[in-house]
């Protein structure tokens, strides 16, 4: 079965001075899959993601997202993707409705389209009554779900999520993953970074980053077999132990 690689990474490198934040990584992500980009804090996940979303320029290497080169065609990449950053960057001093309308407008949706999407989105999240509340007034979990939905407003084929479930309780995390499944069912490709190892089980395939390098790549099942581990936590520990620290 041939699958289309919507994200293709070859020897991607990002250095800050002598520090190699992303140290020569290569992998592919296929259409429709939920790809988990795992690793400890500071492993280089966010840096890699910022390069793939066209926010940061790579030091060297090549990557294409949705068929566009992240180095030379960053703006085209941005048109085709959705992004939810680690810091839930909706405007805290704007209301739910205002945020939706703003980003809808920026992505070029028509006024009617925005309205339709807004009504649908809010009812799905059960936030219709909170339409006029400031983002700052919402609890963290709702903010995250909202940010995700806003990232999908313009119907992008690939969605990047950077640590979307940080700091919330397990139930809310579970609810968030329901949203991710829904999106995947619609044929979207989800690229999600997380340091919660249990969330790795929810993904179709995962990769693990340690000190800027990819040290494991495959389905959760394959990796558990490969490392003789009973869960992803154990996989991670074994992977981390195997990897030599990179000399600075």
């Amino acid at each position: 079965m041939t699958r289309e690689a919507v994200i293709s990474v070859h020897h991607l490198l990002k250095t800050f001075g002598s520090f190699h934040a992303v140290n020569d990584i290569s992998f592919d992500v296929y259409r429709g899959e939920i790809f988990g980009f795992l690793g400890a804090n500071g492993a280089g996940k966010t840096t890699a993601m910022k390069m793939l979303t066209g926010l940061w320029k790579p030091t060297s290497g090549k990557a294409t997202v949705a068929g566009y080169d992240v180095f030379t065609q960053a703006e085209s990449v941005k048109r085709s993707i959705g992004y939810m950053s680690q810091r839930f960057s909706l405007y805290a001093d704007l209301t739910v409705k205002e945020n939706i309308e703003l980003f809808g407008g920026i992505y070029g949706l028509s006024t009617r389209h925005i309205r339709e999407k807004r009504i649908e989105l809010l009812s799905r999240l059960a936030l219709t009554d909170s339409e006029h509340e400031l983002i700052s007034a919402l609890p963290l979990g709702w903010k995250q779900k909202l940010a995700f939905s806003v990232a999908m407003l313009h119907d992008p084929q690939i969605i990047f999520l950077d640590e979307p479930t940080g700091g919330v309780d397990p139930i809310t995390r579970r609810q968030f993953w329901d949203l991710i499944y829904e999106a995947a069912d619609m044929g979207k490709t989800i690229f999600v970074t997380t340091h919660y190892m249990d969330e790795a089980e929810y993904c179709d395939r995962i990769s693990m980053m340690v000190d800027g390098k990819i040290t494991a790549l495959g389905t959760p099942e394959d990796l558990k077999k490969q490392f003789l581990a009973k869960d992803m936590d154990e996989v991670f520990i074994k992977v981390a132990r195997h990897t030599q620290p990179i000399a600075q």
Partner: protein, 374 residues
């Protein structure tokens, strides 16, 4: 374009929701305008005089009376002791010491001339210079009076010499009202400072909070981003300028002789320029503290060299040439020429062109230097 309209809407919503910024932006300028206009006064008034009269004669007392009658001088103390005089100078209790030596009147009658010693606290050089100048004028006046009274007693020709009578008149500001001169300039300064700070801090704040990333990851174009920031702040700037103008007229009675249309036209273009400058600065800085600091640094220098407080004509040639690239200089020129002298467009067309070019270049630089991909 639609995108820009959405961005403008966002900015306005944020501005009006920001409870602390709004009063600061509106109230502070008005307060500063008031304080500054009253404080910024270089006019020399009330020069304090310490009177040391070793002669105690009719003539010396005549001089004393003249000083007391004068509007310029204020007698603060008298004494015989030179030490007291020195102390008064050192303790800043007086600006000028008049010393009439012992044989003053005697010398006037016998020799036909006498000495007076003036000692001035010259730390404020301008004040000392003008103070002694006025003192000299007063003494000359006294000389004429004295000669008129006693001149026939001694063989001195009265002033039957040919004299040139200068009459003087002051145009545009008959009463030499310093506020008329300062207030328009202060208005310029306020608009400049607020404009630069607000626009610089605005973008850097988004950088610090991370919201700018969410914009950078969209297909939004750079010029749309800049325009979306520029336009709301521009409207705000014009509003603040209007408030200031109203205050200037109502509270300070500054005349507006020239065309308001012309004034607003220039202000509009100038605002584009100064907001663009703030944005340009923000593309170089990552923290609000840096943005503030750098803006402050440039602004202070520009304002000091703009002719607001001290005339450009008094500067050495190299400094005068430097002011040619100072945009604030042009705004100050225009506002004074148009408001106080009724200048028309032809008179200030050069300034218009310069500021227009500046606006284009600076905003162009801001757009060019802003990176959506770092």
């Amino acid at each position: 374009m639609r995108v820009i309209l959405f961005l403008i809407r966002k900015e306005f919503l944020q501005i009006f929701r920001n409870k602390s910024i709004l009063p600061l932006i509106l109230v502070m300028p008005v307060i500063q305008l008031f304080i500054l206009s009253y404080a910024a006064d270089f006019e020399i008034r009330n020069v304090r005089v310490f009177w040391m009269d070793d002669d105690q004669s009719t003539s010396s007392r005549m001089l004393l009376q003249k000083i007391q009658a004068s509007d310029y001088f204020q007698l603060v103390d008298q004494s015989f002791s030179p030490k007291a005089a020195d102390l008064a100078l050192e303790q800043r209790k007086t600006d000028l010491v008049f010393h009439i030596p012992q044989e003053f009147e005697h010398n006037l009658f016998r020799e036909g001339h006498a000495d007076i010693q003036l000692t001035a606290d010259a730390i404020d050089g301008t004040k000392a210079g003008l103070g002694t100048y006025y003192a000299n004028l007063l003494i000359q006046d006294f000389s004429r009076d004295w000669l008129a009274k006693y001149g026939s007693n001694i063989h001195i020709q009265a002033a039957s010499m040919p004299s040139i009578v200068p009459t003087y008149s002051f145009w545009y500001n008959q009463h030499l009202n310093y506020k008329t001169f300062m207030v328009p300039g202060i208005l310029v300064m306020l608009v400049t400072m607020i404009g630069a700070f607000i626009s610089a801090m605005n973008i850097v704040r988004e950088k610090e909070l991370g919201t700018i990333e969410q914009l950078n990851v969209t297909p939004i174009r750079k010029y749309q981003f800049i325009a979306g920031k520029l336009i709301p702040l521009w409207i705000l700037g014009l509003f603040i300028f209007t408030v200031g103008l109203v205050v200037a007229k109502l509270a300070f009675h500054v005349p507006i002789i020239g065309s308001l249309f012309l004034i607003y036209g220039f202000t509009a273009i100038y605002l584009v320029m100064i907001l663009g400058l703030g944005m340009l600065i923000s593309t170089f800085t990552n923290t609000q503290q840096q943005a503030m600091f750098i803006s402050w640094f440039f602004l202070v220098i520009f304002i000091l060299m703009s002719g607001l407080f001290t005339p450009i004509e008094n500067m050495p040639p190299w400094a005068q040439n430097l002011t040619l690239i100072n945009p604030i200089r042009y705004f100050i020129e225009v506002i004074r020429l148009v408001m106080l002298k009724g200048a028309v467009f032809q008179d200030v067309s050069l300034q218009f062109v310069v500021i227009g070019l500046y606006a284009i270049i600076i905003n162009g630089l801001a757009i060019w230097n802003y990176r959506k991909t770092v």
